[in-house]
Amino acid sequence: MRKLLLAAAVAAAAALTAGPAAAQVEIQWWHSMAGKLGDKVNEIAEKFNASQKDYKVVAVYKGQYDESLTAAIAAYRAGKPPQIVQVFEVGTATMMAAQGAIMPVYKLMAQANEKFDPKAFLPAVTSYYSDTQGNLLSMPFNSSTQVLYINKDAFKKAGLDPEKPPVTWADLMQDADKLKAAGVACAFTTGWQSWVQLESFSAWHNVPFATQQNGFGGLNTRLEFNGPVQVMHIQNLADMAKKGTFTYAGRKDEPTGKFQSGECGMETTSSGSYANIKANAAGKFELGVAPLPYYPSVKGAPQNTIIGGATLWVMTQKDPSVYKGIAKFFTFVSSPEIQLDWHKSTGYVPITLAAYELAKKEGLYKERPGFDTAIVELTQKPPTPNSKGLRLGNFVQIRNVIDEELEAAWGGQKTAKAALDDAVKRGNDLLEKFEKANK
């Protein structure tokens, strides 16, 4: 009797799950957007599901970026990959090298006869995720870049003009001295040190981060961010740390907590933090946003910054009929309305030029001054081989290495030159290993 009941229950469950699946093709979308961002992702999926009947996008939060990437790889190895997975920019080379595991977006759109123009996207965004022939491999989704945030109240306290944020690094160092003299315990701090102070810093000053066009040219790329421009900059920051005008507060986003509590005068970090900082600073201090400082002595600076964030990768499917639905979903995600809403509520940049125009037309940047800083930084000049982006294997480990060596420089255990030389040497071992594994 019990067996019979069990069999009936199994049959019923199978019927229930099989029923809707036959009518609708399900598209699993694994992502890493927690909290408010996660709600927004669900909203996008729901809107898409409501807009048509053939496909159903199911958004699943799979943990932080590295966790969902690991989960997707494990699922692929077990033969059950999700349809779409959100991968951070650091994982780009890993995904690209996975021949057979991924379906490039340009191919997907062509096969599905979906209208698709890569030129509609911001060039600084597409260049990061295209191969050397200019074919877009993954769908841009959430992209941000680095900006300088200032605490206007702290500026006033130090006798500085809050409407004149520092333009060059020399200005910033002077302002930091004054802030410290006025009793601001943390004059300057930075989030995501490797991304802001080395990766994007190199692009912003049009100097190479790695050979072979920062890795776009081939797997035999090697690091070269120990050039004179980067060494000068890291040494300046190390000197500031020694003087007490640069407070190091962690590798990722921890420094933002310090800044938004009102403790710091200036912070360089992701433009994607805008909404959060603004909300937390409300009632405590007035927030200002400015482009990243630069060294005028370096020829060509400022060039353009590079992006961070993530894109959507399509994983190879046994049943190709689902590709059409994914293509439709991508068209939907990149529509100006969805992009504008995403941009407004998160602080990520709109990924298409049309969405950017729409935002301008709506008067968004008059309403929120400084909100367009990130887009201006990304688009002010056409990207050069030094500023297209980075394509490095084992990049997560390389970032760890850079973090470790920078920490040694901030702590005074190593000079900037020694720290960067060591980081390059250790990073190159990792690149060699990646090259060997992917021959």
Partner: protein
């Protein structure tokens, strides 16, 4: 009668332990064997290209000065955790082993931290000692100590040591207390009559009789410091600054799960496995002989 016959059948004992063996094989031996196999491979994350490279991963590991540095950090960390954890809990247990008013409340409270998950223990101390919002940070600053474990490696190591020890004290405390209570009162009374003071009684009678317990706890604490402190490191320092708190098990996680270097991280796991085997052998050969349960 029937029962005896069944027990005589050659397969029954095996059948009875079969579930246990199956669980052990599937959940322990199989993954362990897989790890050993992976440690000899060089593969990309998607397993689309796999090469057999013999011992290349191990050679690379032991040529990497940072892996050797991670060994040193682990040795220092586990020594600090084991020694200070044992010393503090022994002291507490000796105090609790007296017939005091409210002794049971005191004992109960001391056992509580053991119920706290390692990650939570880490976060707790993180909040107390956070460079920007920590209440202890303010106290330290007022006495002139510049506390910022993001920059100072020694402070970061101290932070994870404190969190790890705090979490483990309860466990050690319980064993020490049980050990103390099993020491015959007559021995101590006899010594007291002979004129030995409390300190002398402790060192000449209590401590030697406790040594099997202490040795057992030493092994357990070292294993704890090696493996179970992962969550504490992950929730506080993430191995930084500049590798000051990168213990072996955390490096395996960083290389394997975050960075997807499966071969290198499998090789590290194998090394760790060997260490555990050695520790277990030590425990069985020397501890099991002396401890009387």
């Amino acid at each position: 009668m029937e029962k005896r016959v069944r027990f005589r059948s050659p397969w029954l004992p095996y059948a009875l332990v079969l579930p246990q063996i199956a669980v052990t094989l599937v959940f322990f031996f199989w993954p362990a064997a897989e790890t050993v196999y992976y440690s000899a491979l060089l593969q990309d994350a998607f397993a689309s290209k796999i090469q057999f490279v013999w011992f290349d991963n191990f050679i690379a590991l032991f040529q990497d000065p940072h892996y050797l540095a991670s060994f040193k950090v682990t040795a220092l960390f586990s020594t600090l955790v084991a020694v200070s954890g044992l010393a503090v809990s022994l002291l507490l247990a000796v105090f609790a082993d007296r017939a005091l008013r409210g002794a049971s409340i005191y004992k109960t409270l001391l056992i509580w931290p053991y119920a706290v998950a390692p990650a939570v223990a880490g976060v707790l101390w993180l909040f107390l000692l956070s460079p920007s919002i920590g209440i202890l940070t303010y106290a330290l600053r007022s006495v002139g100590v510049e506390w910022n474990y993001y920059v100072h490696g020694g402070q970061a190591l101290l932070l994870i040591c404190v969190a790890a020890v705090w979490k483990q004290i309860s466990y050690n405390f319980l064993f020490f207390l049980a050990g103390l209570q099993s020491i015959p009162g007559s021995l101590i009374e006899a010594a007291a009559i002979d004129g030995a003071g409390p300190v002398r009684r402790f060192w000449t009678i209590v401590f030697p009789l406790l040594s099997p317990t202490a040795f057992f706890l030493l092994v357990v604490n070292i294993v704890y410091a090696f493996f179970d402190t992962f969550a504490i490191v992950d929730s506080t320092t993430q191995g930084g600054p500049a590798q000051a708190t990168q213990i072996l098990v955390f490096k395996i996680y960083q290389d394997g799960v975050q960075a997807l270097d499966l071969g290198g991280s499998a090789a590290q796991s194998v090394v760790l496995m060997v260490i555990v085997i050695v520790l277990t052998v030590v425990q069985f050969r020397w501890v099991e002989r002396k401890v009387q349960y």
